[in-house]
């Protein structure tokens, strides 16, 4: 697969502020690529560089194998769905959608028909004559999508497009965006701070932190094998287990991530076996989440660990414990995942 976007050691500085600090990234053609990170981690800066609104202070960006350094935004085969949608308030919905075609000199008849098709695709047919101010947030989001896709770009950038929508609408749009991407075969680059969204939608994703890429990989790789402490804690929940006993062998020492759902909680001391590790502690909190229950357990030296048990109904009993109860936590040593110590800066 050829690459749609490639960053080589890209830095972006605004005065003394470093927004991006040596980004190396390859986004393949036709994939749904997620960029995940907390606010201020450089996700949006990354999109702005791809769109051409900003220029890198250092490093190079290639679009489809060609340097984008001298290509202005209006000549890039890239379109953006903005976080605030950025619809033109003085135009009708149809004019908004047809804008890209109009500036390219497409004739009025074709403009109308293609804008119509796009509005149909995002299921807004019949609203072409309205103004953006007359639409709901979800509808505006669809208009922004239609407006960006009407140009048939090779890369579509989405900057937290679902951030302003309520949960139900958001879940619905996640499914729609995903199926749209599969149908169109366009490279989607999707920025979000919502780890659930990033995991469920992306083919591959990059975890950003403080202007650097912490890790890239498929959602499963990132979840199962987080490479840094940041990845482990930002993507899903993690128990961070440090083993520094001088008695154990050196390969068993270090910092490990352990997912809470892989921790088994029991009210009796488990039978010891070669692969399992167990500790005992006191239940500090029990949180009922519907599909699962989360137990926070205070273990030795003031640290706490989390265990999650699925609410499996008749298939398995949920441990019924109250805060204060004495419990045992056990896990398989194969589920410990060694973390690279985050580079300190």
């Amino acid at each position: 697969m050829d690459s749609a976007v490639r960053f080589r050691n890209v830095c972006l500085r605004y005065g003394k502020v470093v927004a991006l600090d040596g980004i190396d990234l390859e986004i393949r053609s036709g994939e749904f690529f997620g960029i995940l990170g907390p606010s201020g981690s450089g996700k949006t800066s990354c999109l702005r560089l791809i769109a051409g609104f900003d220029r890198p202070s250092d490093g190079t960006i290639e679009l489809h194998g060609r340097s984008a350094a001298a290509v202005p935004p209006y000549d890039r085969d890239v379109n953006t769905v903005f976080q605030d949608y950025a619809l033109f308030p003085h135009m009708t919905i149809e004019q908004n959608v047809a804008f890209g075609l109009m500036v390219k000199g497409v004739n009025r008849r074709e403009r109308r028909s293609r804008a119509g098709e796009m509005l149909e695709m995002v299921r807004l047919e019949g609203l072409g004559e309205r103004r953006p101010s007359q639409l709901s947030g979800g509808q505006r989001q669809r208009v922004a999508l239609a407006r960006a896709l009407v140009n048939r770009p090779s890369v579509l950038l989405l900057d937290e497009p679902l951030g302003a929508l309520d949960l139900k609408l958001r879940q619905q749009m996640q499914v729609e965006l995903r199926s749209l991407q599969r149908t169109l075969g366009i490279t989607f680059i999707f920025v979000t701070h919502d780890q659930g969204e990033a995991l469920s939608m992306s083919d591959r994703l990059a975890v950003f932190n403080r202007g650097r890429v912490e890790q890239t990989g498929t959602p499963r790789e990132i979840y199962e094998q987080p490479s840094t402490r940041f990845s482990a804690e930002f993507v899903g929940d993690s128990n961070i287990v440090e083993r520094r006993d001088p008695d154990t062998r050196s390969q068993e020492q270090g910092v490990f991530s352990l997912r809470p759902e892989k921790v088994h909680l029991s009210t009796r001391e488990p039978v010891a076996d070669a692969h399992s590790i167990s500790v005992t502690g006191e239940v500090a909190d029990v949180q009922f989440h519907g599909a699962s229950v989360r137990y926070v357990v205070s273990v030795s030296d003031g640290r706490s660990m989390t265990a999650v048990a699925g609410n499996l109904g008749s298939r398995a009993e949920l441990p019924a414990v109250e805060p204060g109860a004495r419990v045992w936590l056990s896990w398989n040593s194969d589920d410990l995942h060694r973390l690279r110590e985050s580079e300190s800066r």
Partner: protein, 313 residues
């Protein structure tokens, strides 16, 4: 209630009034709105209607007394060719001043809204507002000196070897004259100078409200800068241009000082109102002349609305 009883009597009264008003929002609204509405209705609009009604009276040509019977006679007088000339001259000047102001104001407003930050912005604001803090009359008289035959403009053009250009400019019929200070060019220059801040500020405010992302979206969708300007920035700034032009246009229509100090002796609307009301004592005709700017502005605004000037609002 027990705690309320312990409060000092004065404070208690204030509380009771507050509570009473809180429970009667309409009363509160009426109390807040009546004084400004009285001002607006009686003093602001009332006096104007009192003036306008005079335009439907007429003047007895022998006695010079005002006849208080409703008639359109004054308006037929208003439409005499000599008067129409004055109206057209003033409207043309107002249009030219408005056009020139908007062309000069736009880049300044654009820079202020989109590029200037912090200190530079403050400096720009001050530079635009500063002239408004000094006397209008002083500035107009200063311009008379600047534009006079012996003034700095004549001297400077001569020094730069551009004297013949100035002469050529002044020899243009109608708008030229013996010196800038006695030509329509001079009147026009001073009008543009005096009203420019009233054009810059509304355009700047309109541009300030255009989010950066909309401009980026336009480029993103394939519009080169000149298309973004024409299809996005200009339409969104248009309400500001119209707001500014309401000022420049109506202020030019009504001004009687600038054309009196700088320009040829041919009259403008404001001067006629001044003369008819003061020297000639023909208040009905003066009132009729006052209706003209109101009519012109109504036509202008409805035309602007047709052109879609307020679509972005």
């Amino acid at each position: 209630m027990a705690t309320a009883m312990q409060l000092p009597a004065k404070q208690q009264l204030g509380r009771r009034v507050s509570t009473a008003l809180l429970l009667r929002p309409r009363l509160l609204l009426a109390l807040l709105l009546v004084p400004p509405l009285l001002w607006l209705g009686v003093i602001y609009l009332g006096s104007m209607f009192a003036l306008l009604i005079q335009s439907f009276f007429s003047i007895d040509e022998f006695t010079g007394m005002i006849q208080r019977t409703l008639t359109l006679r004054t308006y037929t007088e208003l439409l005499r060719p000599a008067h129409l000339d004055i109206i057209l001259r003033t409207a043309a000047m107002a249009a030219a001043v408005t056009l020139a102001s908007s062309v000069i104001a736009f880049p300044i407003a654009y820079f202020m809204a989109r590029y200037a930050t912090g200190r530079a912005k403050t400096v720009f604001y001050l530079a635009v507002m500063l002239p408004l803090w000094s006397s209008y009359l002083v500035r107009v008289y200063a311009w008379k000196l600047i534009l006079a035959k012996e003034g700095i403009v004549t001297w400077l053009t001569a020094e730069l070897g551009l004297g013949s250009w100035l002469d050529a400019l002044l020899s243009i019929p109608i708008i030229g004259g013996t010196a800038l200070s006695v030509s329509y060019i001079g009147t026009f220059t001073v009008f543009v100078y005096i009203w420019l801040p009233f054009m810059i500020l509304p355009i700047q405010a309109a541009l300030e409200r255009v989010p950066q992302s909309i401009i980026e979206a336009s480029a993103d969708l394939g519009a080169p800068p000149h298309r973004t300007f024409r299809n996005v920035i200009l339409p969104l700034a248009f309400p500001g241009v119209i707001a500014g032009s309401i000022f420049t246009f109506s202020l030019t229509l009504g001004d009687y000082i600038i054309p009196q100090i700088i320009g040829s002796s041919r009259l403008f609307l404001g001067q006629v109102v001044y003369i008819q009301q003061g020297t000639a004592g023909n208040i009905p005709l003066a009132a009729a002349f006052c209706v003209v700017p109101i009519a012109v502005m109504s036509i202008y605004l409805s035309a602007a609305k047709r052109l879609g000037a307020f679509d972005a609002l």
